[in-house]
């Protein structure tokens, strides 16, 4: 069964058609890619799927349920998490606190108990320990008590993924996780994405400009240009697709050809 499906998904900003009639199916367990030139509408697609933007028209289904126009926190509750193209950590808080916050939807105690600190110690410790364990699993344990803002760029990206994982998603959306990373960091990220895909039984959809990453890690790739899907297929099919090469002409032709 499709885990995620969009039908005729469209978004218009003023006169600009950022996304136009985007039909897409993502099967459970896939590790798929979404690429396209700058301004193609990739992030806008993520924003609509994750509930941060209400589409102008079209439908979104997640695990068989229509989620079009649900607010972001409701979408997250249903088991979807994401990262952001320009990192959005809680930058003044520690790495550990960032992850603890993302456990929000699993917190069992209510408001009254929070005000009175009535028997919340045990659960708070569990949250803290789970958050710490997650940081260990992504290799950030020694950063736990550092302010997120002060971490090196690559680690901030990794922390953002850890934070998304803390919501315990089935579907993870990664928006340009390799942006700003050097070659070594990107290579490490590639194995990391593969690892979390297998370890947490995740379905992953990743937007990425770095072709070495997309081509290396995704088994199926969809290409957007001017808000429309222009191609879909395996990395090999995409590499040799003339429409894709044309869309990237003058921009990243070399990258695609590699």
């Amino acid at each position: 069964m499709a885990l995620l499906e969009t039908k005729g998904l469209s978004m218009t900003f003023g006169g600009l058609r950022a996304v136009a009639g985007f039909d897409y199916i993502l099967e459970e367990g896939e590790l798929a890619g979404l690429i396209g030139p700058n301004g193609a509408g990739k992030t806008t697609v993520f924003n609509m799927i994750s509930g941060l933007l209400a589409p102008t028209s079209g439908h979104i289904y997640y695990a068989g349920e229509e989620i079009t126009r649900l607010p972001a926190h409701e979408v997250t509750k249903r088991g979807m998490a994401r990262t952001f193209q320009n990192i959005r950590l809680f930058s003044q808080l520690t790495a550990l606190e960032n992850v603890m916050i993302a456990f929000h939807r699993h917190v069992k105690y209510g408001y009254a108990r929070a005000f009175l600190h009535l028997n919340i110690g045990r659960e708070e410790e569990e949250i803290r320990e789970s958050a710490y364990r997650l940081l260990e699993e992504v290799g950030l344990a020694e950063r736990a008590h550092q302010i997120a803002h002060n971490l090196p760029y690559g680690e901030q990206r990794r922390l953002e993924i850890a934070r998304a994982l803390a919501t315990r998603p089935k579907l993870l959306l990664l928006d340009e996780p390799a942006a700003g990373m050097n070659i070594q960091e990107t290579a490490r990220l590639k194995t990391f994405i593969q690892e979390i895909h297998d370890r947490y039984n995740l379905t992953i959809l990743v937007i990425e400009h770095d072709m070495s990453l997309v081509m290396g890690v995704c088994r199926r790739i969809t290409v957007l240009d001017y808000g429309m899907k222009i191609a879909e297929g395996t990395p090999d099919e995409i590499r040799s697709n003339p429409r894709v090469i044309e869309a990237y002409l003058g921009e990243e032709t070399a990258d695609v050809a590699n």
Binding site: S50, G51, L52, P71, A72, H73, T76, K77, A81, R82, F84, R88, L89, F90, S91, Q92, L93, E97, M100, I101, A102, F103, H104, R105, V107, Y109, Y111, R113, A114, F115, L116, H117, I120, G121, E123, E124, I127, R163, A166, T167
Partner: protein
């Protein structure tokens, strides 16, 4: 065995709570003692009561502005609702004082919810303007409400005393500290840090803003009811824009996001205005200079986002001794 099987950090937490508890009780006994000896006179007592009321106002506004990141400047409005409805409860309906405090808090919380639901969608400056407007509207409403005396004011019996204010100020600090040190309080802090990211983490940001706003309003209402029952007469002009600004100064001076900062700033500022009571003009200048100085030298406020922490090395040592004794 009992105590020894408790993990070290739990033990430290218990000891910290004990020390704070002892401090709170001793401070109370000291003030009561000095009062009985006549060293603290009526004038100083009035100011102690006022300081306690400002502690409640400052800490509760900090929940909204400091911890949840919503810039509200209408706290005097909520305070006046609590003052008037608390006073109506005792004067018009003859209800017991404790119930009047509760009523003041509840009506203010309700008002907070009503104002919060539409306005908390607004951001930054717009929210500030909306809350400012709310404060003014409330003032005009009471000004024209003859049932509570209109512009002439509303006389209220003195039912508040130092003990009431002290106990409620301590409760306010404890309850709001508990909240911000819980998963729900972390959700408020997440809203402050990055609202979009917070909602992507599954946090209902509107809900947490409304909770912070209503709880903040509730405590401001209780502070208003305490105020009304101490100073004999309340009038709409007692709760004008300047009062809101005073509370805001306390929060900024103490540090947005620091409860102990708000407590210290509330006491400092009340003390300062008491010392300068006879020189109203220098008082305003000193206020302003203090604020400018803070902005320049400590832009995060006296405490930044930190809290006063007890030195725990002392406690650790005691813990070690215990373990030695056990072996």
């Amino acid at each position: 065995m009992g105590l020894l099987s408790v993990p070290q950090h739990r033990l430290e937490k218990m000891e910290r709570q004990l020390i704070w508890g002892a401090f709170v009780v001793l401070l109370y006994l000291l003030i009561i003692g000095l009062k009985a000896l006549g060293i603290i006179d009526q004038y100083t007592t009035n100011n102690l009561v006022l300081a306690g009321i400002y502690v409640i106002l400052g800490v509760s506004l900090n929940l909204i502005n400091g911890f949840t990141g919503q810039f509200s400047i209408g706290h005097a409005g909520f305070m006046s609702i609590g003052a008037y409805f608390g006073a109506i409860a005792t004067v018009k309906f003859g209800l017991p004082f404790a119930l009047a405090l509760l009523m003041g808090g509840l009506v203010a919380a309700l008002a907070g919810m009503l104002i919060g639901l539409p306005t908390l969608r607004l951001r930054g400056d717009y929210l500030a303007i909306a809350t400012l407007g709310f404060g003014e509207i409330i003032r005009v409403v009471f000004l024209n409400w003859e049932y509570v005396g209109g512009a002439r004011g509303f006389s209220v019996p003195r039912l508040t005393n130092f003990t009431w204010v002290y106990v409620i100020a301590v409760l306010t600090v404890v309850i709001i500290r508990n909240w911000v040190q819980s998963a729900h309080g972390r959700a408020c802090i997440a809203v402050r840090e990055d609202e979009v990211a917070a909602s992507a983490m599954g946090i209902n940001t509107t809900l947490y803003k409304v909770i912070a706003f209503s709880v903040g309003a509730a405590f401001a209402g209780i502070a208003g009811a305490l105020y009304a029952h101490y100073f004999f007469l309340i009038a709409p002009h007692s709760f004008g824009f300047l009062r809101s600004v005073e509370v805001l100064i306390i929060v900024v001076l103490g540090g947005l996001g620091s409860i102990s900062g708000s407590v210290i700033a509330a006491i400092l500022l009340t003390g300062l205005s008491m010392l300068l009571a006879n020189w109203p003009y220098p008082r305003l200048i000193i206020y302003s200079l203090t604020l400018i100085g803070i902005m320049i030298y400590r832009p995060g406020g006296l405490m930044g986002m930190r809290e006063i922490a007890l030195p725990i090395s002392f406690i650790k040592k005691k813990g070690e001794e215990r373990q030695l004794g056990a072996s």
